[in-house]
């Protein structure tokens, strides 16, 4: 009997059901290795068994993401596999997205190690390589022979719970996760080595290829300020005394929403700042420096704008991960859209 069980996911084409005309087919289970699964099973040897292959049409999956994922996760669950493998999808876009989606769902919901494979330009690779180990493949099925040893090696490691090394050692697409290690030389020496090569015009390898930032174009200007509903959002760490939501002073993982209803200014008895990146002294004395409630109330009374939203949203900006900041922004933005807020004063520090 095999020591380790695997469940494999394929689309209608690799599952042998048919081509584009069968792309709408519903998920089904076959208790055998099929198509590329046969090669994987052979390479893995007798300690491993593909207990089941789940086949689903690419269009069905793409048009019914949640339902398809729910159904397939249930199918996988029945077999209690040690590893779940999807694809490889090579350069097939819809298939790649399906492989990524189902891998992520299986890992999150069943806690089973998962693996897929894709060509690096497959749109599914960009969407899921951060979350799912994606073996680098060529752009067509003819390249399976080349990536097969990496797939097999990773399945073995995952089944045995062994440490998975870096993307270059193991042949998967870089997930963009920054991991610490102790280098042979200190940073200054590595920098100097790089500079000497760069000055000579020789090839060198940077430790950090520059990321592409997600730039948000500014919104259209407000034309009718007299009736505009204005809110305050800050990354300056202003919180009620006692920091009730325990927002961190650096690398915040949450934001807070606090009422300013009935207040004409930010009182230092009620509010403080927990920001770890600037000198807090002046702001602790006068929190209006960061949440300018005093001036905003005056302007509101004088009719300079319509109305001030009766709460502010706040977090700590220093050392805060961009992924957390994007999450806060989406969530605060949604709240403001729902409440018909016209403009936001974003106070940084």
């Amino acid at each position: 009997m095999a020591k380790y069980k695997i469940v494999h996911y394929l689309n209608q084409f690799f599952g042998g059901i048919g081509g584009e005309d069968k792309a709408g087919c519903l998920p089904e289970v076959r208790e055998e290795a099929i198509g590329p699964g046969i090669a994987i099973a052979q390479a893995l040897g007798e300690d491993y068994e593909i207990a089941a292959t789940v086949i689903c049409g690419d269009n069905y999956f793409g048009e019914n993401l949640d339902e398809a994922a729910d159904t397939i996760v249930e199918m996988v669950k029945n077999y209690r596999p040690n590893v779940f493998v999807a694809g490889p999808a090579f350069n097939a876009g819809r298939y790649g997205v399906a492989c990524g989606t189902i891998c992520k769902a299986v890992e999150e919901r069943l806690g089973i190690p998962v693996l897929t494979g894709m060509y690096e330009e497959n749109p599914g690779a960009d969407m899921f390589k951060k979350d799912v180990i994606t073996v680098r493949t060529g752009n067509s099925a003819a390249s399976l022979r080349k990536s097969l040893p990496n797939i097999v090696n990773l399945i073995r490691k995952m089944a045995a719970g062994e440490e998975i090394l870096g993307p270059y050692e193991e042949g998967y697409l870089e997930r963009g996760i920054r991991v610490n290690y102790f280098a042979q030389k200190r940073g200054a020496a590595r920098g100097m080595d790089m500079l000497i090569k760069k000055m000579k015009g020789e090839p060198f390898e940077t430790d950090l290829p520059m990321p592409k930032f997600d730039r948000v174009p500014p919104a259209e200007a407000i034309t009718d300020m007299k009736h505009a509903k204005i809110a305050v959002v800050t990354s300056g760490g202003i919180v009620p005394q006692g920091n009730p939501d325990h927002i961190e002073s650096s690398n915040a993982t949450k934001y807070g929403v606090y009422s300013i209803e009935g207040m004409d200014s930010m009182s230092p008895e009620k509010f403080t700042t927990i920001h770890g990146g600037y000198d807090r002294q002046f702001v602790m004395k006068d929190p209006n420096l960061v949440v300018p409630l005093d001036v905003l109330r005056e302007m509101e009374k004088e009719g300079e704008f319509g109305e001030l939203v009766n709460y502010f949203c706040t977090t700590t900006g220093t050392g805060t991960a961009t992924s957390s900041a994007a999450k806060f922004g989406d969530s605060i933005g949604k709240k403001f859209v729902d409440e018909h807020v016209d403009g936001v004063i974003l106070v940084s520090t």
């Binding site: 610490n180 940073g187 100097m192 500079l195 430790d207 002073s249 993982t253």
Partner: protein, 429 residues
């Protein structure tokens, strides 16, 4: 300028009835030091303690770390403009360093930005001061002291003690003598005409309000970029006054032991012609950033540098200065390599830097500060653990009842210091 740096190897510190060096041991008269520190009437008390490598000891909250040094000849005094006389300038003649020991200033926090030194356990791998013998100066400020006044008192206490202890090495024969020399610009260029001319753009933390650095006593946010002979820094021309995140705090020790300057001298005359240091700052106003990055590029061009290494102190806001310097210097035709640390979030998946530019094609990583680590309980705490949860790197609930805690490595002093002092680096997984 030519400097002979004599290193006296110190293997231990012990308390004694007078202060002197004997057989590689630094003997310290406790009362003498405490009296010296308490000359400052802003401080209520001062307590000394010794922490040695491999002991189950944790030092926190740490303000600064300083190596004792003394100016033996060549004019000038150690820490000019702060402890020593401001003139004549330093960087020439002979200096003695007490190698292997440090003064560590400790006391309740000024800001959240003060960190930890563990003398053993997992965190010790990340901290250079887990390997030195440390004389800890634990200070207690007077009640109600304004934070800036307290910061200044703490800063001066450490420097005073280090200068005082350095005196003990004035007449001691050093174990090794290293010689460093940088000539005036035309002579230096002519000395190795076939080697590429390399400079170091040293960005000093100057965001202000407890994020300050001093050059000959001048607050770094008040100067415009200038040229510095590399040997000046070895005599304490630059001292730390900052409270940036512990992990990339450039302590006064790190100024004395600047790794980029050290590396440039190592390759000098062999692979490169080291021309000197362009000193600049990291001010928060956009006009300052624009003006000073222009001036850095201008100095690089004026010195006809073929390449520069650029380091920053801190993260976030200074990343913009780092990128402006990189872009403008590259556009003058000088090749740039950046050295810095990364903050990609707890899961390591976010952007490592707050700013980028397409010219930043070469970067040496000093590791990422968001990695979490378990800090075991220690037998002895020098200072106090009262602030761990609010110190940078900690979080509410990270502290356990037995005195152990979880925290990001950014709570460790100089763990990811962004000038390439350590071997820690990060790579993409």
């Amino acid at each position: 300028m030519r400097l002979e740096l004599g290193k006296i190897e110190i293997r231990d510190i012990q308390f004694a009835d007078r202060t002197y060096i004997g057989d590689h041991i630094l003997y310290v008269n406790r009362e003498e030091i405490e009296k010296l520190v308490l000359e400052d009437d802003k401080l209520l008390s001062c307590r000394l303690d010794i922490a040695r490598p491999n002991e189950a000891v944790r030092i926190t909250p740490v303000k600064d770390v300083i190596e004792p040094r003394v100016k033996v000849s060549g004019g000038g005094e150690i820490f000019p403009g702060v402890i020593g006389k401001v003139s004549p300038p330093v960087g020439e003649g002979r200096t003695h360093a007490l190698d292997g020991c440090c003064v560590v200033t400790v006391g309740r926090i000024v800001g959240f930005q003060e960190g930890i030194i563990d003398m053993s356990g997992p965190a010790a791998d990340y901290c250079p001061f887990s390997k030195t013998v440390n004389l800890c100066v634990v200070i207690e400020p007077k009640e109600g002291l304004e934070t800036h006044v307290y910061e200044r008192s703490g800063r001066l206490a450490g420097l005073k003690v280090a200068a005082f202890l350095g005196e003990a090495g004035r007449h001691v024969k050093p174990d090794t003598v290293e010689v460093y020399e940088t000539k005036p610009v035309f002579k230096q260029a002519a000395e190795f005409p076939d080697l590429p001319k390399v400079g170091y753009v040293h960005m000093l933390q100057s965001q202000g309000l407890l994020h300050d650095t001093y050059y000959y006593g001048v607050d770094a946010k008040q100067f415009v970029p200038t040229f510095m002979y590399p040997t000046e820094i070895m005599d304490g021309a630059i001292v730390s006054g900052n409270c940036v995140a512990p992990c990339d705090k450039v302590t006064t020790y790190h100024h004395l032991h600047n790794p980029v300057i050290d590396e440039c001298y190592k390759r000098h005359g062999k692979e490169i012609n080291f021309m000197g240091v362009i000193l600049t700052n990291e001010n928060v106003f956009l006009a300052d950033k624009e003006r000073h990055s222009d001036m850095v590029a201008k100095l690089a061009e004026w010195m006809e540098l073929d390449g520069v290494l650029i380091t920053e102190e801190g993260y976030g806001n200074p990343d913009t200065d780092l990128m402006m310097n990189c872009r403008k210097v590259e556009r003058k035709g000088t090749k740039v390599v950046l050295i810095t640390d990364e903050f990609p979030g707890k899961d390591g998946k976010s952007q490592s830097l707050a700013d980028t530019c397409e010219e930043a094609t070469a970067l040496a990583s000093c590791g990422q500060g968001n990695m979490t680590l378990h800090f075991p309980a220690m037998e002895k705490i020098i200072g106090m653990q009262d602030y761990i949860e609010s110190q940078i790197g900690g979080w509410a609930g990270c502290m356990n009842e037995d005195g152990s805690f979880e925290a990001e490595i950014q709570i460790i002093i100089a763990s990811t210091i962004a000038n390439g002092f350590n071997t820690l680096a990060a790579k993409g997984y």
